[in-house]
């Protein structure tokens, strides 16, 4: 009996370990929860409509944060994820216009595969050329934005009504049915999280990002890991473009949209606890940070802050959060 008790003891939940390893992710989720609760008290009636609005409008950034997180965890950084989102948005809007629902789904899958392959090519170029990720993707940012502009020179295109409902919960893109957007958020994020934590390939991405040399010496194909991370990143960026198409109902390919989205994805990833040096952090944390970054704007506008001041406050908030994190990290290092 004692052995059984001991075994139970040994398997018991080690809260300290969890706090140390998952503290940041939990913190970001609490921050997000606090922000939403604050938002709920701020406006007179907080209901299904607001939940739907937050869920669907944060979708593109959440997908992009997941894409960036996977690439960063594997030791890279992709400055072109935003451009990839715009490309997927443009291609899908061009092809889906006037098509029935079943066809739009086929096109959506095609676009996701296309973007994954394209970004796998980017990852391949990085491994072959040995040029740093940030430089290669800076160049592909221009190339991919140019391609998007070729596909869709002026805003337009369209999609099917039910494709919009898939991401927004309503065939018109605005409604109070929050289940579709929530599920469309939760399922891809959960798949990415499980892939990263529970599969051999996912763990090889962590290993490669953590220490490429050690990973290589442990018989991990680091070049393959890099290509895989970029391919998955491309797929999630494509998903972001599709969700943006579902939200607005038409496509647009502006260079500034792509670069802004990229910058926000990097902010989300860092805020979500993923270290830009690679190998550390979780997809779930990055996703929470993505929702948080979106949620700030309705909160600030509900507080009566004008959009320009809101932008200043957002910037200051991000810096303050990172400063606090930096100080916490510093104190922890000193304590150890």
């Amino acid at each position: 009996m004692t052995t059984f008790e001991e075994a139970r003891e040994g398997r018991g939940v080690d809260w300290r370990r969890i706090a140390r390893r998952q503290g940041w992710t939990v913190g970001v989720w609490l921050l997000l929860l606090g922000t939403i609760v604050f938002y709920a008290t701020l406006i007179p009636n907080f209901g299904d409509f607001q939940i739907t609005s937050i869920a669907k409008n944060s979708l593109p950034l959440v997908y992009l944060a997941v894409a960036q997180a996977i690439i960063v965890i594997a030791g890279g950084i992709d400055l072109a994820v935003g451009a990839m989102l715009v490309l997927s948005n443009a291609v899908a809007a061009r092809l889906m216009e006037g098509q029935p629902f079943a066809m739009t789904i086929v096109i959506a899958i095609g676009v996701i595969v296309f973007c994954a392959l394209l970004n796998a090519g980017v990852g391949w170029v990085i491994t072959v050329s040995k040029v740093p990720d940030i430089v290669v993707t800076l160049a592909t940012l221009f190339i991919i934005s140019g391609l998007a502009l070729m596909v869709l020179p002026s805003p337009g295109g369209g999609t099917s009504e039910w494709f919009r409902a898939l991401f927004t919960g309503s065939t018109t893109g605005s409604g109070s049915n929050f289940w579709p957007p929530l599920l469309m958020m939760a399922i891809p994020v959960a798949i990415a999280a499980l892939f990263m934590r529970r599969t051999k390939t996912g763990l090889s991405l962590y290993a490669t990002g953590s220490s490429p040399v050690a990973a290589y010496l442990s018989a991990i194909n680091t070049a393959r890991a890099k290509v895989v991370s970029y391919a998955i990143g491309g797929a999630y960026a494509a998903l972001g473009g599709l969700s943006a198409l579902a939200i607005t109902g038409s496509g647009e390919s502006r260079f500034s949209t792509g670069s802004n989205f990229t910058l926000r994805s990097v902010a989300a990833v860092v805020l979500g606890g993923v270290a830009l040096t690679g190998g550390i952090g979780s997809v779930v944390g990055a996703a929470a940070a993505g929702i948080f970054l979106y949620t700030l704007s309705p909160v600030l506008s509900a507080m009566g802050v004008d959009p320009n001041t809101a932008q200043v406050i957002q910037g200051v908030l991000i810096v303050v959060v990172m400063m606090v994190a930096g100080i916490v990290q510093l104190r922890r290092e000193r304590a150890e």
Binding site: V135, L141, I143, F255, G315, I318, V319
Partner: protein, 331 residues
């Protein structure tokens, strides 16, 4: 067939190690060749380009970019990066336009002051609070954009043109319309940066911080001070570039220098500055800025539409970075 070619190529490299190692030791020679080649290609596309006026226009385009890329080079040497140079330049141009009625001198000084303050705040964030440089400067960019959009409706309303002296400095030329004044400013800035990086203790410290921060800290250097100084200088250079740009375009708006951000990074990268710190020269960055300037001129001559321009621009940046990596790894 391909592997056959590959072995022959590598055998060729072994046959003439002098040639390939000379190139590896003198990457700037490769860049110069690329620059000349691009100028010649542009001349083929548009024969009138190969004249004093045509080349002058390229330098006029490249000077603000080169100065902004100087800010980027200094920070990349320390292992940092500044994604707020575009907004700092725009902000400085706005303030300079606002102060222009008080005289060009006051306008320039207040404009530069904006850059100094914004850069110092970046430096404090990165150096003291250890905020990641990408995030710190990104947030600074967002803060400045919000701030100056709001201010452009109130205090800065109507501040859209700069003093005549700044216009001459940014867009005018001397010696029979041959040499732009902004090239003169760029030359002065270049001399200071090149001398500063090579010959001063602070310059060597920038390389050291990027190369091995732990060794530098153990040697007794207060790294946070180096960071603040480097970011402040970068802010100053960005502000200078913004003022010159406002002089060249003649009008100030919120989009003034935003499109210069990514080319400023690209110029430093093409010039061989390592994004991880500790390696690079400003001479390379100057060539990088000139190459991008020629490329921009070529695009306008081709009149190819924005989409194709972006694809070609990105492809050439990628090809140059790849070429540079290959050449320098030959040793």
């Amino acid at each position: 067939m391909t592997s056959d070619l590959g072995t022959r190529l590598s055998a060729g490299a072994e046959d003439r190690p002098n040639w390939s190692s000379w190139l590896a030791d003198h990457p700037l020679a490769v860049l110069s060749v690329v620059l000349v080649a691009l100028v010649l290609v542009t001349a083929v596309i548009e024969p009138r380009y190969l004249s004093v006026g045509g080349l002058r226009n390229t330098v006029l385009l490249a000077a603000p970019l080169g100065i902004m890329a100087g800010a980027q080079t200094i920070l990349m040497l320390t292992g940092g990066i500044d994604l707020s140079v575009g907004m700092i330049a725009t902000a400085a141009a706005y303030v300079a336009a606002n102060q222009s009625p008080n005289g060009a001198a006051i306008a320039i000084v207040t404009g530069l002051l904006v850059g100094l303050v914004a850069g110092s705040v970046n430096g404090i964030g990165v150096g003291v609070f250890k905020v990641n440089a990408l995030i710190m400067t990104l947030a600074m960019s967002a803060i400045l954009l919000g701030l100056f959009t709001a201010l452009s409706f109130t205090v800065l309303q109507g501040s859209t043109t700069v003093a005549p002296f700044i216009k001459t400095l940014g867009g005018g030329s001397f010696w029979g319309n041959r040499i732009p004044y902004n090239a003169l400013v760029w030359a002065g800035v270049s001399l200071v940066i090149i001398f500063g990086l090579k010959r001063t203790g602070f310059g060597r410290l920038l390389y050291a911080v990027g190369d091995n921060p732990i060794a530098v800290r153990l040697a007794g250097v207060r790294i946070w001070q180096v960071h603040i100084a480097a970011y402040a200088i970068a802010g100053l250079l960005a502000a200078l570039a913004g003022i010159l740009l406002a002089g060249r375009t003649g009008a100030v708006d919120l989009q003034l220098a935003v499109s210069f951000l990514l080319p400023s990074v690209a110029a430093a990268v093409i010039g061989g500055t390592s994004i991880f710190g500790g390696m690079g020269t400003y001479g390379g960055t100057i060539l990088g800025a000139l190459i991008l300037g020629v490329l921009a001129t070529m695009m306008t001559f081709l009149d190819a539409g924005q989409a194709i321009q972006q694809v070609v621009y990105g492809s050439i940046v990628l090809a140059l970075a790849w070429l540079y990596a290959r050449v320098t790894r030959a040793s």
